[in-house]
Structure formats: C-alpha cells, structure tokens
C-alpha cells in the first residue's frame, strides 16, 4: 500500500515549468508566482535563475508561458562519454 504522503499544498506550477526550474536549478519553494492565484510561470523561474526573460512579457497570458526550446543543459561534470 502507498506510503502516507505528507499532505500539503503542492507548489502551483505546471510540470513543464517545474522541469524548467529543475534545469535552471531553481527551488520553486522560494519563488513567488506572478500568475493567476500565485501560479509560478516560466518567466518567474527564469527571473529567479538570474536570467532575464528572452522576450519582454506580452499581454496575452499564453505568450508569457511561451518557452524557448528546452536548453540542452549539459553540465560538464556529467557529460556523457562518447561510445567508441
């Protein structure tokens, strides 16, 4: 049977945004969301990562959510070794 998960309000961000946060090493618990109801957007994550959003935020909320293609995010220490 499943372990008793500690019930608390989960962070308000979509899986895609949480993926971005992981790639940019941003702890979402420390980010204040600017979206509706405190939702954390991609822009919030990038800002927290010290990166300016690539585009200035536009009026339409869908534009705000727009992300560039996922960064390869290869850390040198873990670069895969080329197969022979």
């Amino acid at each position: 049977s499943p372990p008793k998960a500690e019930a608390k309000m989960p962070v308000l961000a979509t899986p895609a945004t949480r993926m971005l946060a992981k790639e940019l090493k941003v702890d979402l618990e420390t980010v204040e969301g600017t979206g509706p109801g405190g939702r954390i957007t991609d822009g919030d994550v990038k800002k927290a990562a010290g990166k300016a959003p690539e585009k200035p935020p536009e009026a339409a909320p869908t534009e705000k959510e727009k992300i560039p293609p996922p960064a390869p995010a290869i850390t040198p220490a873990k670069a895969p070794e080329k197969p022979p």
Binding site: P2, M9, P15, E81, P83
Partner: protein
Amino acid sequence: MVVGDIEIGTDVLVIGGGPAGYTVAVECARSEMDVTLVNNGELGGLCLHRGCIPVKTIMHALDISEECKKGAPFGVDAGNVSVKLKNVYAWKDDVIEKLESQIKCLCDRYEVQMLEGFCSFTSSNTAMVQGSRGEQRIRFKRAVIATGTRYEEIPGLPYDDKSILNQDSLIRNKDLPDEVVILGGGYGGTTIGTLAVKLGISVRIIHSGDSLFPGIDDDILCPVTKWLCENGVKIYSGDWSVEKKDDVISITINKNGNDDVIKTKKVIVATGMIGNTEKLGLENTEVKINDKGFIEVDGDFLTSDPNIYAIGDANNKPYKNASKAFREGKSLARILKGGTGFPDYQVMPLTLSSEPKISCAGMSEKQAKDAGIDILTGISCFSSNGKAVSLGKTDGFVKVIAEKGSHRILGVHIVGPAAFDIADESYLAIETGARLEDIVLTVHPHPTLCETLQGACEAALKRSDGW
C-alpha cells in the same frame, strides 16, 4: 552472449529487465550510448509476467464472460456462457508473449546488448554474470540497479508452493485452490482477493488496522467491501499471527483484546515486498540498503557509490509500481546523458482492480482535512450519467476535493466500472494546478462517462457562492 574469459566493456550496465531496467536501457541506447542489459529470467519483469499485465488480462477475460451472461437485458442471448480457465490462462500467456517480443524488438532496434543471467557486482566498476552457459565478466563505467522486489515472507513460514503461497500462485494458475485465506489488505490483498473471487475461489481476507485499504476514504471503499461481502468474502481485521502444524494453518486474530482463530490449508501472503538486492554483491561496492533491502538513493537515483544508480521498485523512494519504474527509467537516462532528470511528480495515481474499480489521484478527503486544508467536496454518481445508464453500469461515483479559497483541485477519487478510463483528466488537472472552473468550463462531449467527473466539479462549485 559470447561466454569466455574476455571481459566485456560497457558504458552503462543495467541489471534487471523489468519496466525500470529496459526503459533506461532503451532510452540510453537511443542516444547512442553503449548499453548492456543483464536480466535473469523473464524480460519485462514482474510487471509483465507476474504483475500488472497478467492480473488485468485474466480479469478482463473473466469480466467478458460476466458481460455476456448479463447480456439478456440488452437483447443479447449468449446461450450457456462458460469460461475455460485453461484458455483464459493461455490467452494471458499470449498477451505476455506479444508484449515481451515488443520489448525485445525495442532493445534490438536501439542495439542494447542483452545478456541472460544473474548479475552481481565484484567491485564498483566490475560485475559478473552467471548465465546458463557460464560466467561473463563485465567492466562498466556506470551501472544501474533495477532488480525490483520479491514477496516478503512471514518469518518461519517460507513459501512452499503448496500451503504458503504468494500472489504468483493464482497468476500462474498452478493448481487453483478451492478456498484460501489472504493475509493482508491494501493493494495486494484487495487485488488478489478480487481475482480469487472471480476465479470462483472461496476467500477470507485478514488485515490489521481499521480499513481494508488505508488511505482510501471510506465512502470510496464502501462499494468494494460491499461487493466482496456479497460475493461471500469474509473480512477480518486485527493483529494476526500465524502458526502451521502439519497441514493446517491457524491464524489468530486479536481485536480489542479478543482472540479469533481461523483455520485453513492455504494462505496467500500479501503483506508486501522487499528489495531484490540479496546476492547482488553490494558488499563489493559502496551501495547502501535499508532494512527491507531497498537501495538508498538521492534525488538523481545515485546510490552511495558514485558509479551506481538504482531505479524502480529496488530503490527506497516511495511507491512501488510500474509507472514509477518507467518514469525513473526515462529520467535517469536523461541524467546519464548529462542532462537533468524529471522534476518531482505531485500525483502518483492509484488504480485498484477491485469490483467496482477504484482510481485515486491526489489527496483523499481525510488527508486534506488532517492537513488542515479548508476544502470543498463534490460528488456525482454514474447513475445519473446517460452513458453509464445506456451501458447498464451505474454503480459508483466520482468525488472531487478542492481547496475552498482557490478552488484548486487537490484530489479526484472514482469508484465504478469506468474508474480507470476517465481518470486521466484528473491527473493532469492536479499536476497543472487546475481549478474546478477549468474542468467545469471545459466542454465534455455527451454522452460520455467523463461528464461525471465534470459533474463532480460542478457539484463542488455549487457549494461556493455564485454557482
């Protein structure tokens, strides 16, 4: 497999060919990494051969015959429907074979090197495979342990395939018993109990604790215990202990200080699983396990040994199921490629093959209340769903739990025949932080079963102002 003295070199050694193991192997190989997959036994693991797939397949075949039998009101005259259990199990084996060959194909397509045999570590970068044709040494840069679990035994009562059984016995159809006592409730006990009833076996279930399935709200569980009772299943709760004398197994159940003793010739132990990490040679590495044999890992599945990872049932992360195994396989492949793994999930769905079926996502009503969250709940019954009525399947309901202030959906619990099919919307809803309004304002086609999910959200909303 070329057996011999020559050591094989590989970038990534994967031990175990279950969902976790074959997924990480294929995903790494897809990125042109050099991958060797060692598996001992059946490719596809517990899930394919003795778990998810066979249980669902056997149940479906038995359910079809039930549908036929109940077809008369629909105008279907099925004559004397009968089930040939031998053929049901043959179909199950067919399904397994088909799916196993798909996994084989995938591995071949991406050129995963496959070895058959039992693998154990000889150091932090070498391992040994004992196959039918001898021994093979392997040198690896990184290794992934995906060896899964095995059934825990009751101390002093080892499985003997005769009287002390585990869930395999029904799934493999070695000689179905006429009656059986199942030790343990929860996922294992409820699933195997349901299967046993459908196979015509007389069943008693013994569980400790208050509920047959702790963590599921009572109202959701109620139709299931009702079905079990109606089908002659006796459910006992209390602290139990087991003794075996000659052929007879006596189980003493203590509830509120009173002892109840029941006797049987066959028990199925469904108390849980332990990590499949014995004889893995972990002592030759830095890998650490906990008291149940599960491997300790960090957020990136790395063990205490910097070269060795562990995923799937074998690691000490919460939940043991195939979805977690697949996800960890995919996530680790990204890490091994030098990227980041997947973020944490918020919802681990539960799908219970009870009768009726149960699907749970997110917080139960009790969990939310215990956590002090102010909630709205809403319920909608399948009996008022047009499609369910037209299918003649009106048992059950959907319950939704949302935070009162924000209307954010925290939990969706479904009991009913359609529970597995329509639940996918609820996973996405909770993961993305959707609100009740998001589901209510999304058009759901008519007549479909998912309207009941929408209906439950609407019912919750109607308890707030303005709806």
